[in-house]
Symmetry: C2
Subunit: 322 residues, 2 copies
């Protein structure tokens, strides 16, 4: 399947798309955020909304209808909330694209355009949701109103696999063991980030750490940090700061400066030191979440090894009924 063919089909059937909604749960929801952020930043025609799937079905947007495009992602393909959101959108007349790793799953349904993506250590970024979705958004904007950053985005996407491969080695050489140390010293800590990458701040917290490591922590927005949360900062409290390579970096830099002066437990993962400078500045925001995700995977693996707690272990998810 090709992204431009998906958008051509959507526009042929729905004439124009005036709003796009991205909806999923947990890790899949996180992967949709950069594209939501991109549409609002780059489109003069299409507004974008981003919803955890249950919120979408409980309180759907009033504008949901024929001229809406709804992108639903379910890695397993069988997440009930995601399926319910897709069905609701279809019934309201929207174009529905479902992304899943599993052919033949619930969301692989003839009512939707279903994109089955591969998954695994060496699958290119362009072939997973963090690459597919910005490209879908770029094709939509290009088709409806023109998108001057289209070539920069596709060029940047090609560079991401090399950047990530190098960054993995660097993060393991420089940060992974220290991160595991910090997790041993701190029962709880804060993770900061901003911009489109804030999705990975949230994801690092709720997926990599809370879910896969039972590590208590909290995610904070680097700008919002100064409007409340910074009062908690003091020696002995660990902060992990994700520094963006995009225009949102200014928010992370402000947090960095304050944190350096107010805690002795700070760890910084700076996307500019991990290769994002090779990507055109105008599109870094939309692509760097893939870098942060890959680094989060390395860091959680290091913690898992230290604590003898494999990131594959669950005690409730998919085990209990809830």
């Amino acid at each position: 399947m090709k992204t431009n063919e998906v958008i051509s089909r959507v526009l042929a059937e729905h004439e124009e798309i005036t709003e796009i909604y991205w909806t999923a749960c947990g890790g899949s929801l996180i992967d949709l955020y950069p594209s939501h952020y991109m549409v609002n930043a780059e489109s003069a025609k299409t507004s974008s909304g981003w919803y955890t799937a249950k919120e979408f079905t409980v309180t759907p947007p009033k504008r949901l209808g024929k001229h809406s495009l709804v992108i639903v992602c379910s890695h397993s393909g069988n997440t009930q909330e995601a399926m319910d959101a897709a069905v609701l959108a279809y019934e309201k007349g929207a174009a529905v694209v479902t992304l899943t790793d599993k052919a033949g799953s619930k969301v692989d349904d003839p009512r939707f355009i279903t994109w089955v993506y591969p998954w695994g250590d060496h699958v290119p970024t362009a072939e997973v949701p963090l690459g597919i979705c910005p490209t879908l958004a770029a094709e939509l904007i290009k088709a409806q109103e023109g998108f001057p950053k289209y070539d920069a985005l596709t060029d940047g996407l090609k560079k991401m696999d090399g950047i990530i491969e190098n960054a993995k080695n660097k993060v393991n050489a420089e940060l992974s063991e220290k991160f595991a140390d910090r997790c041993q010293e701190n029962e709880f800590f804060y993770i900061l980030g901003s911009g489109a990458a804030f999705s990975q701040t949230y994801g690092f917290a709720i997926c990599s750490l809370m879910e896969m490591q039972r590590q208590n922590c909290c995610y904070l927005h680097s700008a919002e940090y100064f409007h409340g949360p910074f009062e908690c900062t003091e020696k002995g409290i660990f902060y992990f700061l994700q520094m963006s390579s995009s225009q949102s970096r200014v928010m992370d830099e402000r947090a960095l400066s304050f944190l350096k002066a107010h805690t002795d437990r700070l760890m910084v993962l700076d996307a500019m030191e991990y290769g994002m400078g090779d990507v055109d500045a105008s599109v870094r925001a939309y692509l760097e979440p893939a870098l942060f995700y890959a680094m989060n995977v390395e860091l959680r693996a290091a913690r898992g090894k230290r604590f003898n707690h494999s990131p594959e272990i669950r005690r409730y998810m998919g085990i209990e009924n809830y």
Copy 2:
């Protein structure tokens, strides 16, 4: 100033409003969320965006222009990020309404329509941002496309002060001391909520607890809880659950059921037990955040008394340069 006069003036000068953006920082940002949520749920004409002010200026929405209405709130009136957002919006041609408690502050500027609101223990809900903003949104929807829930909303708003007054007594009789106990037993805990009230879940965490009590905690969405965070739940971990009275309640109920079975430290603040049943079900989501806010104030006061840490104390905010 009257909300219908504000909207009449905006529409006279800008013909139509196709998008509304709510932007502020910290506590003020939190107060704008229910109205953002309401516009997306109730308007077929106007889309809504909600931004911490620095994100708004760093990555403004592409659609920001003549047909945009931007609502900026700064309690002190001098928050630089909020002022920058208001100026940017004005320069892009948008209608700008600023809300502040302080006449003569930066955001009280002739380029904007400035609404100076009173503040204090017995100021009616209708006169503070949590009441003004849903009314502004209701007037906009009514003027442009009709709003069948208009009367239910204004009627509900009138009931909020009585509901809150009774709820204060009840929360202090039933929850405040237990909450202070829990804070003594737990260095860190989780707060859950959903729907428009999720803004107060976030606000309880970052303003009432992190900022005013230096209490480490984390805010979680009740639906997202099942897509990662619930793996942390076990005996000895404290969870504070805000139960909505609105359509989003179903998400909180699911969390309640799981939490009851998996932790021995659970505290529930159920809006239905605190009077929200008196408000029409169709508009509870938009008004109950005012109830949760008032309860959060009582709970933080009880914690402050127990820890001898007044909620007025700051060590950084407004004291250091940052």
